[in-house]
């Protein structure tokens, strides 16, 4: 391999310049050729360095325009990556050692110079330089940021990842004061601005090292934003589970504790209402009737409350089975007709001859449809119509009434808890619990369906829900039955 090494010699003593030229020529062999140019002052050397590329600089530290290690510093400032071998006089070995600490690759004593030593020093310097370059590439290419910060907190080096993390150019970071105090004992967490205007979290770890002869810090900077986010989500989930658990427990306890006194009042009022404790005057009977209705309302509220608590905490067991939506609609409508016997509102059913099977919990869906029909019958002026149709993936059931419709601003809130519309005109004073639609939505979610409402102004409200076709739902292990209250 024919290697060419171009050398810049900066030396003001012509005798040494000549001598070194001789040694360099002597050192040339089959595998390596040395080409040498020389300058007699620092400025001359710097001029050459800016005009031409060299592999290595042989540098006399005592020049007419610069003396001592300052000379080395100026060369390194000009070409930081250039390998430099320092030429020293006798008795100046200490200076040579210090020059190495300041970044020189090696030093040579002028009076011990010969071809072999020169060749050795140059070869060694170049090898060290290659190694250094390799290391620098390695550090530069690290996915984590790396900084060298000296004891005066000046940043001496920053790799590409560090620049990217801090979002700064090299000159905005290197040579500037580092704003964070480093310590080997603990990792430092800092916030860094994000390109998108947000914030990222970074973790800085530091260790003490010696950098070019001085004590310094080497610091790694790692982006921990994703980790932080994950940690935060985990903590939030844990906290939410805890508070949900407490809330469920509290609601459940309150609701259950209320049921016992409620059952007593219900039984007592029922006894009076049915004249089991003796005859009542008309006024007494009316008052007892009022109390009885409100006990019914309180009972519904409590039951809905418990239903919703259980649904929301996913403690209800869903028993999804393939079922015929037509049969379900017919059955629910029949039950609702019976319950609303004697009222002036008609319940019409417009169904296709056949519908594909859906997969759902029949009891739960009957509860949803029953609830929708109940609402519609209370708000309708004269007619409620139930329709159903199938699409590729699902069956959609709609309940349309000819009542006042839903105010647009309420549409979005309708399925929230405790949202109620104004009483229907001429309604019977029936008050719902404000939970029915919230329960319906929970049920539809558990059954893989959707529920929503819309209306045509002045033409009443339309509630729709969908259920996935049985053929589109992957077979899942049968879940245990029983969300319905026994005895219902």
């Amino acid at each position: 391999m024919d290697q060419r090494v171009s050398i810049l010699l900066i030396e003001d003593d012509p005798d040494y310049t000549m001598l070194i030229n001789v040694y360099v020529n002597e050192a040339c062999g089959d595998s390596v050729k040395y080409l040498i140019e020389s300058a007699v002052s620092l400025q001359g050397g710097l001029d050459l360095l800016s005009r031409q590329e060299y592999d290595i600089v042989l540098l006399d530290l005592m020049l007419p325009d610069s003396r001592g290690l300052d000379t080395l510093d100026k060369i390194r400032a000009k070409t930081p990556s250039m390998p430099v071998v320092v030429l020293t006089n006798l008795d100046h070995d200490d200076l040579g050692v210090e020059a190495i600490a300041r970044g020189a690759q090696d030093f040579l004593s002028k009076n011990k110079l010969d071809a072999g030593r020169l060749r050795h020093a140059i070869g060694f310097a170049l090898a060290r330089d290659r190694l250094f370059l390799q290391m620098e590439h390695l550090i530069e290419g690290l996915p984590d940021g790396m900084l060298i910060v000296d004891r005066s907190r000046m940043v001496r080096y920053a790799n590409a990842a560090a620049l990217a993390l801090f979002g700064r150019k090299r000159e905005q970071l290197v040579g500037r004061l580092f704003e964070h105090a480093l310590s080997p004992d603990r990792a430092l967490e800092i916030k860094l601005p994000d390109a998108g205007g947000g914030e990222r979290s970074a973790e800085i770890r530091a260790a003490e090292i010696e950098w070019k002869g001085y004590p310094a810090w080497v610091a790694t900077v790692r982006d921990v934003s994703e980790l932080k986010k994950l940690e935060q989500v985990r903590a939030e989930v844990k906290e939410r589970r805890r508070t949900d658990g407490l809330k469920d427990q509290l609601l459940s306890t309150v609701a259950h504790e209320l049921r016992t006194p409620l059952s007593v009042v219900k039984a007592v009022i029922g006894t009076l209402r049915d004249h089991l404790a003796g005859p009542l005057t008309q006024d007494q009977a009316d008052l007892i009737g009022t109390a009885d209705r409100h006990i019914g309302r309180l009972t519904r509220l409590l039951n809905n409350f418990l239903d919703l608590t259980r649904l929301e905490s996913r403690r209800s067991r869903v028993n999804r089975q393939p079922l015929d939506p037509l049969a379900l609609v017919d059955e629910v409508c029949e039950g609702v007709r019976l319950a609303h016997r004697g009222r002036s509102v008609a319940l019409g059913v417009e169904l296709p001859k056949r519908l594909p099977a859906v997969k759902a919990d029949a009891d739960m869906i009957a509860q949803v449809l029953g609830n929708l029909l109940d609402n519609a019958l209370r708000y309708a002026r004269g007619r409620v119509t139930v329709r159903a149709k199938a699409s590729e993936d699902e069956v959609e059931v709609s309940v349309v009434d000819d009542g006042p419709g839903i105010p647009t601003e309420k549409l979005a809130l309708l399925f929230d808890k405790f949202v109620q519309l104004d009483r229907p005109k001429g309604g019977e004073g029936y008050k719902g619990t404000g939970l029915g639609l919230a329960i319906s939505r929970e049920i539809m979610t558990l059954n893989g369906g959707r529920i929503w409402a819309d209306n045509a102004p002045g033409r009443g409200a339309c509630f729709r829900f969908t259920l996935p076709l049985a053929s589109k739902v992957e077979a899942e292990p049968a879940e245990e039955v029983s969300h319905a209250r026994p005895g219902d």
Partner: protein, 123 residues
Amino acid sequence: MPAPEIKAKRVLIVDDERDLVAPLALRLRSLGRFEVAVAYDGAEGLDKASWFRPDVMLIDLSMPKLDGWALCARLREDPRTRGIKLVIMTAWLSPDLGRHAMAEGVADLLIKPFEDEDLLRVL
């Protein structure tokens, strides 16, 4: 109170909530088809079951001395009371209530507050 008919069903209500027991007993007695006895804790219920020989027992779950489940178990153990139809009354809905009831040989459940029709249905 109408006199019980010869074939009147004998019902024993066991509940420490006296305020509930009173109207329940009154309602059942007023129907004339039931002979009603009451007990206010599990131990008293067990004792009364052995001599009142009810056809049906309405049993509250949380009671002093002997709770509802323990009472059911004791009634099952004794050949003389084994044939009584057991109905649990409770305000507490727990997910395994149904399973527990089945395991204890309970025939039906009444969730408080219950409707009069539900009461008559289980009887």
